[in-house]
């Protein structure tokens, strides 16, 4: 590859906010005072926070320049494994800005908020249909909070059975949020090793599942991009011993309209609307993590819940067995709205095609790289493929260094060093919205990086060389933390 995607650009420097400005400036249009001044007792008031005073143009230039140092899905391919960085439709952003929704107060009486309640009610039904489960809460703010909500439901279920349990099974390929969420509910995570093919074996689960174990948390497809083929058998074992099966829906993008988790033994499942349902990641959030459950677990869902009566919708709190509230109001409504718009844009056939093309794209990348990168598990994948840096050990080049070099070629690197079970993992999830040409470009770039690892390792160790900054010293940042200026 003679030319990289990137070319020289104009990267402007920009100081910190408080290194700009001048006392007395203001970038805000202050409303006129139409009432008399009324002073608070001076013992209650302070001098105001030490903010810089900036004019409007200074604020605009500051953030415009900052934005040019960022890389988003709109900039280019963003193949982060397990993150599903698909295209975020512009129409969804526009609709979220409609004044009727953007300016709506969460505590409006039901009669004055029928639009939002109807949207939530319908979205719950759609998500129930997609997951094959019966009832949904939209309240959790993110995937991890969905997991926490799910674990609270597991906890409430066992409490209602009259005997609490102490442990939970979590495969060694799981996201870190799984054990952390379970631990918040007092469950000790018991790691379940995956089998030689990268998937769970029923006999291993059977050996660990006992009457002290509350259930299992399964990500399917798992973080190796493999479908857990034994899911039904595993669910049967867990159910027979009184446990519940929690599904981590982070990877649902692989199986929309192809597998309904509720039909293959999953009792509770969270979805990441910011992954599967196209809502933007926003540089780390906000996302949304709705939770779907089987009918008999619906009584534990968080309050308030949206109910319909004779075509009118209302929020109700009279569910005595509910785990309670997990957020101050009704969830990240602005995100829910975007996901709702996405579902209506795709339709039933569109969803099935999403998963087919997501899996096609992942296998295409896998095929294009498997002769130069070591494959952790040599078998077709679902929506993401996992490699490692094993072939580059001899040249002394690591996953991190290859990732940094990909930046110079104009691509966001894949997820690295996860899942933990693969040493030096490189986890690639292209998603369905990428064109064949862009995938070809990415494959060619990665192959070029691999060539450089053998021929010119210095250029890799120096990478990235075309960003705003060169490689940053994370050790110094952690040794002497400087968190505020």
């Amino acid at each position: 590859m003679s030319e990289t995607l990137g070319t020289t650009g104009l990267i402007l420097n920009e100081p910190l906010l408080w290194e700009r400005g001048k006392k007395g400036r203001c970038g805000y249009s202050m409303p006129a005072a139409d009432v008399p001044q009324n002073l608070l007792p001076t013992e209650l008031t302070g001098d105001g926070p030490d903010f810089p005073d900036l004019s409007e143009i200074e604020v605009v230039r500051h953030y415009t320049r900052l934005s040019t140092w960022n890389f988003g899905v709109d900039t280019g391919l963003y193949p982060l494994g397990s993150c599903t960085m698909k295209y975020n439709p512009k129409i969804n952003e526009k609709l979220a800005g409609l004044r009727g929704f953007a300016a709506a107060h969460p505590l409006l009486p039901s009669v004055l908020s029928q639009g939002a309640l109807r949207l939530m009610f319908d979205l719950e039904r759609f998500l129930a249909e997609i997951t094959g489960l019966d009832a949904v809460t939209l309240q959790p703010a993110a995937g991890a909070q969905g997991e926490l909500t799910g674990m609270l439901i597991v906890h409430a279920y066992h409490q209602a059975q009259g005997k609490q349990r102490t442990k939970i099974l979590i495969p060694d390929t799981a996201h870190g949020t799984n054990p952390a969420s379970a631990a918040l509910c007092g469950y000790a995570p018991v790691p379940v090793p995956s089998g030689p093919d990268g998937i769970l074996l029923p006999e291993v689960v059977a050996g660990l599942m006992d009457s002290e174990t509350a259930g299992i948390m399964i990500t399917n497809p798992n973080t190796l991009g493999l479908f857990e083929e034994n899911i039904r058998e595993i669910a049967r074992i867990v159910h027979d011993r009184g446990g519940l099966v929690y599904g981590d829906g982070a990877n649902m993008n692989a199986v929309l309209g192809i597998v309904k988790p509720g039909e293959i033994g999953v009792d509770i499942l969270h979805l990441n609307l910011h992954k599967t349902f196209s809502t933007p990641h926003g540089g780390g959030g906000p996302g949304a993590g709705p939770v779907a459950v089987r009918k008999d677990l619906a009584r534990f869902l968080p309050i308030p819940r949206v109910v319909e009566r004779n075509g009118a919708y209302e929020l109700r709190e009279d569910f005595p067995e509910s785990v309670g509230r997990v957020l101050a109001f009704h969830g990240h409504f602005g995100i829910l709205l975007r996901a709702y718009a996405y579902i209506l844009s795709m339709g039933p056939d569109g969803f099935k095609q999403v998963s087919r093309l997501a899996v096609l794209n992942a296998n295409y990348v896998r095929e294009g790289l498997k002769d130069v990168l070591h494959t952790a598990y040599d078998r077709p994948c679902m929506h993401e493929c996992v490699f490692s840096d094993q072939n580059q050990h001899e040249a002394g080049i690591t996953t991190l260094e290859m990732a940094k070099r990909l930046i110079d070629y104009g691509y966001h690197p894949p997820t690295i060093y996860f899942p933990l079970v693969v040493h030096g993992a490189i986890m690639i999830e292209p998603t369905e919205t990428e064109t064949k040409e862009d995938l070809d470009g990415f494959i060619e770039a990665f192959r070029s990086v691999v060539r450089e690892a053998g021929e010119n390792p210095e250029v890799i160790r120096e990478a990235p060389s075309r960003c705003k900054v060169k490689r940053l010293d994370e050790t110094a940042a952690a040794r002497n933390p400087c968190l505020t200026g």
Binding site: T475, A478, R479
Partner: protein, 134 residues
């Protein structure tokens, strides 16, 4: 990373399979992590040490050592009461990388069993184990 042959293991110290070293000092034992352990961990950014006076059993966690993206627990090589900790490590964790057997020591212990130190691995036996590990 260092080859096993390059790992420094002072002969006068004893070692545990969990990569701690112990040095006998009268009725006390000084404890730290080995050159191998610091090399594996990479740049250490933070060390959490126990409180003085605490009794910790052999095999229990007595400290945690953090690099940028990992947390490792350190296991007591012998049972005893913590009589001193290396305070400067908290502000200057780099000492663990630079001088694991000197300024990077971690705790001073009063062992329950005065003969416990001699029951640990010799430098030779520990290096043999490392080769098995590697």
């Amino acid at each position: 990373m260092k080859k096993i042959e390059e790992i420094v293991l002072p002969e006068e110290l004893r070692y545990s399979a969990d990569h701690e070293w112990v040095g006998q000092e009268g009725d006390r034992a000084r404890v730290g992590i080995t050159d191998y352990a610091q090399d594996q961990l990479g740049d250490i950014v933070y060390v959490e040490l126990p409180t003085v006076g605490k009794h910790i059993a052999q095999g229990a966690v007595f400290a945690t050592v953090e690099s940028v993206k990992s947390v490792s627990e350190c296991f007591m090589p012998l049972s005893g009461e913590i009589t001193a900790v290396n305070g400067p490590l908290s502000d200057d964790p780099v000492l663990l990388n630079q001088s694991p057997y000197g300024e990077g020591w971690m705790v001073l212990v009063k062992p329950d069993d005065p003969a416990a130190v001699s029951k640990l691995l010799t430098a030779e036996a520990y290096r043999a184990r490392l080769k098995g590990d590697a």
